[in-house]
């Protein structure tokens, strides 16, 4: 396992050098089509590593538990640091000189997770090309995590998240992003009614918006957006976000959040694979271990 820890330490040092030379990672640079190119490069590299695994011990080593344990321990360690330090918002620079208050842009953190992705890719390839039924839970879990990790990370730059302030009986088509920039949307929304119910103590029981949604090609759709019940129109999910809390039940303002995440289906594919992996691990894993 020593070599695994050495590799991890090497990645951390490399990461620190990068952190101080090029600065924290700017994930917005990965916006389409950069992310798909990075994904192809990753897959190509993984395929090359797999092809030459019989030639190089280092390549074979990637698909072993001996390699996985140090990687997991070190990723956990950096994630613990993240859990112990207050993290800054995505839009602000790190609040410390190292960059650990913005862990998701901290090179050593990202390199360790990338290393895990390379391990997962090798394991997935070994397990699919030398398929054995008893390894199904393991294979599906590794593949699911790989897909989730890659698509969630690379897709994050394409995620659009906008807040829309809708006023009763008025039509709005602009949204504000995390950087407070106004963007025009391909859909417009009219607030017909803001619905609010409270408990006896006045705390909110339900708040929702009765809205009409207009799309660019002239279609319109009436819908109620509740907390926990977003409405989906043309790739945009519309969420009930907030209201004028000073006015409470009398609020004439409803804040909606509009989210577009083109990579979501792939992330979900990964999540469902992991769920299937967990299910089969529960059923089969126990028995397999008994042998």
């Amino acid at each position: 396992m020593k070599e695994g820890f050495v590799i991890g330490a090497g990645l951390i040092i490399t990461g620190l050098v990068l952190q101080f030379s090029v600065g924290p990672i700017d994930w917005s640079l990965f916006a389409w089509p950069a992310n798909i190119i990075v994904l192809y490069v990753f897959l190509l590299l993984s395929a090359i590593i797999y092809t030459f695994r019989s030639k190089a011990y280092g390549f074979r080593f990637l698909a072993t538990s001996t390699c996985a344990v140090p990687a997991l321990v070190m990723a956990a360690a950096l994630t613990i640091i993240m859990g112990l330090t207050a993290q800054v918002a995505e839009t602000s620079p790190p609040a410390d000189f190292l960059g650990i208050t913005k862990m998701l842009s901290f090179w050593p953190f990202v390199l360790l997770y990338l290393w895990i992705a390379f391990i997962l890719a090798q394991v997935s390839m070994v397990q699919v090309l030398h398929f054995k039924w008893r390894r199904l839970p393991s294979f599906v879990s590794h593949l699911g995590l790989l897909i989730t990790l890659l698509t969630a990370t690379l897709g994050s730059a394409d995620l659009q998240r906008l807040q829309m302030y809708t006023v009763l009986d008025e039509t709005e088509w602009r949204g504000i992003n995390e950087r407070n920039m106004v963007t025009e949307l391909p859909i417009a929304i009219t607030l017909k009614q803001f619905i609010m119910e409270t408990y006896d103590d006045g705390s909110p029981k339900r708040f929702a918006s009765d809205i009409i949604i207009y799309t660019k090609n002239g279609d319109s759709l009436r819908a109620t957006v509740d907390v926990n019940k977003p409405v989906e129109v043309r790739g945009w999910k519309i969420y009930q976000y907030g209201y004028d809390t000073a006015m409470g039940t009398e609020s004439k303002l409803s804040i909606l959040e509009l989210v577009r995440d083109p990579w979501l289906p792939y992330v979900y594919a990964g999540i469902y694979l992991m769920l299937f992996g967990a299910l089969t691990m529960f059923i089969v894993g126990v028995r397999r271990n008994k042998q």
């Binding site: 344990v69 994630t79 993240m82 859990g83 207050a86 029981k205 977003p230 999540i271 769920l275």
Partner: protein, 261 residues
């Protein structure tokens, strides 16, 4: 039904579990099953009654999640017992459950019926129940680890490690379910499936820690003591995730999970 009535149900359940645990020591398997089962039934009746009177699942507060934990521990103990007939497992699971019941009795967190809109979701109950069951199983695995590390006089047997591994495998699969149900729910409620909220960060840490254990156990040459210590550490990290973050300065006011307070 409210927390005032809890003590009666709790006493009956504890007596049943204690007698079941005693019967297990005396090799009266059937009696052990019957009484542990009976205790679980009584305890579950209280949970259901709470559910009905609150008009929402009792899953929101720390007190309410402890309620589930006290229920799942003897259940996990019973499952392990039925499978491997370990005499002492029911005593252990009962004892641990009693600890949680006592916390609820002496530090009751009485709450009203209100449930904020963000928690009114079909994902809510499965997310928390599955997690509590995972915690119970991993708690049982930690007990095994502590027992083998500190109390067992004999040389560690393969069978003991096999039980521990199985508990971790099942616990980890439930934990994965809990985590991913949470992700799917978060997408519906907050617009994104994973936001590195402090609870999520610690959930990831805990998950990695148990993954490290199962991979370590797969090594050609792994040391039993190291493996068991990994389990103890993993369970400490799990406590951070469960309630520790409520006391963590870095996690204050930023977590969507702070309603647990």
């Amino acid at each position: 039904m409210s927390w005032e009535h809890f003590i009666y149900f709790a006493i009956v359940s504890i007596l049943c579990w204690a007698y079941g645990a005693y019967a297990a020591w005396k090799n009266k398997t059937k009696t052990a099953y019957t009484f542990t089962g009976l205790g679980l039934l009584v305890f579950f009746a209280f949970i259901i009654a709470m559910w009905l009177s609150l008009e929402r699942p009792p899953l929101r507060t720390m007190g309410e999640t402890r309620l589930w934990y006290s229920f799942f521990l003897p259940l996990a103990g019973l499952i392990v017992y039925s499978r491997w007939k370990y005499k002492w497992i029911l005593s252990f699971s009962t004892l641990l459950s009693v600890v949680f019941i006592c916390v609820n009795l002496f530090k009751p967190e009485i709450h009203n019926k209100t449930l904020m809109p963000a928690l009114q979701s079909p994902w809510f109950a499965p997310h928390v129940i599955v997690y509590m069951f995972a915690y119970a199983l991993l708690g049982a695995a930690t007990l095994m680890a502590v027992y083998i590390l500190f109390f067992s006089k004999r040389k560690t047997e393969n069978e003991e490690m096999e039980i521990t591994d199985n508990l971790v495998y099942v616990g980890l699969s439930f934990m994965t379910f809990g985590m991913l149900f949470g992700a799917l729910w978060a997408k519906e409620a907050w617009g994104h499936y994973w936001a590195w909220d402090p609870k999520e960060t610690w959930a990831a840490i805990t998950w990695f820690a148990y993954l490290a254990y199962i991979h370590y156990r797969l090594l050609p040459k792994s040391d039993v003591k190291t493996a068991l210590w990994m389990l103890v550490i993993a369970f400490i990290l799990l406590q951070m995730c469960w309630w520790g973050i409520n006391y963590l300065p870095s996690a204050q006011a930023t977590s969507v999970h702070t309603y647990m307070n």
